[in-house]
Chain length 336, copies 2
DNA sequence: CGCATTTTTGCAATCGATTGCAAAGATTTG
DNA sequence: CAAATCTTTGCAATCGATTGCAAAAATGCG
């Protein structure tokens, strides 16, 4: 490998001059600069970034901690993060921690030892126990919360608004008997979506019936079972809002099983807008979460923190990203 | 930050000794080793990996080049790669190149400058023009081919076998009129799957009808349109095999539109086993590709190349991974 | 031309670790 | 007890760049 010393020798100048010339420093005369540049090209010089970064005490890399990149939403986040980082001259190291706090801590330690410039902690499926990570690196949280005192930067999808918008959309379709199949009770995101649901009912003067709220486990089958209960109850709902798309698919199955047509007899609303939402029949109306943009924002915020020297004003940044209702085929105005 | 020199001072020994002690080198007496270790812990010493890697001329990182991590299959590959790398003490830098060869080249250059230990080039959607990358780094290709002389390592899903197995599965169900909706004609993977389809017909003494082979563009809608043509033709097929799951969903739509029941009147077979296959109704029978394992194997092979010093025997390694038929609800024995 | 400025360049230290070789210290052995 | 051997430690170089400061060269000006 050719180093700046080799170039220096070939050019009959010092390594310092070569370094500055290649950095296009204007302390070096134009003629020397061009000559050195040319020689470097001829010799096929490539800078050793490890050496440079080491000297500079910054790796120009940031670490992305995620539970599982192969999850569709996490993948979108990763893509957005990578995009923003690249635009800012950073690159992205990924570590899947599989819902394990020990893995997470060891990833953070590794990042710190590697002199990473920052960390993004994305979308922990463990959000019930999401904590502020212990690290001195600048970091940004995605869809996680912090109970700590210190200011943190967070980019989050707006679960409350999502719950509200979904419910409000169904109400606008004249539905009053709207059931909500939530995720597990102890998840923050579940709680926030539920609050959005409740708020939408209240704002529209629709009484809240606790029998209309069920808690699933995010999986299809729980949506199916709980919807069955709802459809077979005394006073079945005319619309069901599920807290994710998988459970919504289960709801559609349950409706079919009960001889109910979707959307004519019952409307179904999902959440997340995963790919499956476009492929099930009827196509699922759902809340789309712009995860790519969320990742991008998180990346951007982190880069700014790094560039400008950590936390802006020593204050927490909290970006709430609102999703959109994507109207497809599982919702329709209430008949009669 | 505390360095080994700080520890050396505190311990009254030289930095060399500290370095060796922490590396658990047995040239250092047990007592010194323990004392140094203890002091390091007390001072909260963390090794600077950038310095270490720089000195060692190896970053312990490998680069993953992919078109788009947010694609489900690429995400699975990335997950498998990361797993294998971590097991071997490497970490993974990801770069999305979005089907752009310039991006790919610049990513490779960056990786080389960064002193990465290797590169994995995954799953180019551009496979028609997949070429051997120009790099001196050890690399492994995933689902790509090389037209070059030099030996390369490749991990690939077995498209021929996939095409064969899918077709054979339908034949075993007594179908003889089997249509195949392929991807674009100029994709290698399309060609190989088609050959598998043809071979299965031949082995089972079923005449090949070119009217039964159509070329789509991988998207749902092309599956729909081409299936419509098939179902409305003179002699409609009793089974349709689509070269991916998206097009298969289109086929199901077309069948429904033509008043054909799936699977009673027509069987439908997909390819890839994406998540949507489990969520469409009826659930899609398809060829499952173990992408996680593919990624893992590629990672493993690369780590071995790096550890043992590049290409084994100077010969190409070519691992072909066969998928499995996942029986679900869109296929059934031919009636009557 | 000589002195003051300005522009270019080089010296040498530095970042934090690792490592070959030699030296010092400890232990064994005849 | 001295010589030989083995164990433990330190010196100093090295990896490839960057950078503060000083020196050298070029230029300007009276």
């Amino acid at each position: 490998m050719v180093s700046i010393y080799d170039i220096a020798k070939a050019a009959g100048m010092s390594a310092a001059t070569v370094s500055r010339a290649l950095a296009d420093n204007d302390k070096i005369s134009r003629s020397s600069r061009e000559r050195i540049q040319r020689i470097a090209d001829e010799m096929g010089y490539r800078p050793n970034l490890l050496a440079r970064n080491f000297r500079q005490k910054s790796s120009s890399m940031i670490g992305l901690i995620t539970d599982d990149v192969s999850d569709e939403l996490s993948g979108m986040i990763a893509k957005g993060v990578e995009q923003a980082l690249r635009d800012n001259g950073f690159s992205m190291l990924v570590r899947n921690v599989h819902h394990d706090l020990d893995n997470e801590q060891s990833a953070i330690d590794y990042f710190a030892d590697m002199q990473m410039d920052g960390v993004i902690l994305a979308d922990s499926t463990l959000d019930s126990l999401a904590e502020v990570p212990s690290t001195k690196l600048p970091f940004v949280l995605i869809n996680r919360f912090s109970s700590a005192e210190e200011p943190v930067s967070i980019v989050c999808t707006d679960d409350f608004a999502g719950g509200y918008d979904a419910t409000d959309y169904l109400i606008k379709l004249n539905h009053h008997k709207i059931a909500y199949i939530n995720g597990p009770e102890d998840w923050y995101s579940s709680i926030r979506r539920l609050n959005g649901y409740i708020d939408a009912l209240k704002k529209n003067n629709i009484p809240f019936h606790s029998e209309y709220v069920k808690h699933g486990d995010w999986f299809e089958d729980s949506g199916y079972r709980l919807a069955l209960e709802l459809f077979r109850s005394e006073d079945p709902p005319t619309a069901v809002f599920a807290a994710n798309d998988m459970m919504a698919v289960g709801v559609i199955d349950a409706a079919r099983e009960c001889g109910l047509r979707v959307p004519e007899d019952v409307s179904v609303m999902g959440y997340d807008d995963r790919t499956i939402a476009k492929y099930v029949r009827p196509r699922l109306t759902t809340i789309q979460l712009p995860m790519f943009e969320v990742g991008q924002m998180a990346g951007q915020v982190l880069c700014e923190m790094i560039t400008t020297g950590h936390v802006p004003d020593g204050k927490s940044t909290r970006l709430l990203v609102r999703g959109n209702v994507i109207e497809r085929e599982t919702t329709a105005p209430l008949q009669g």
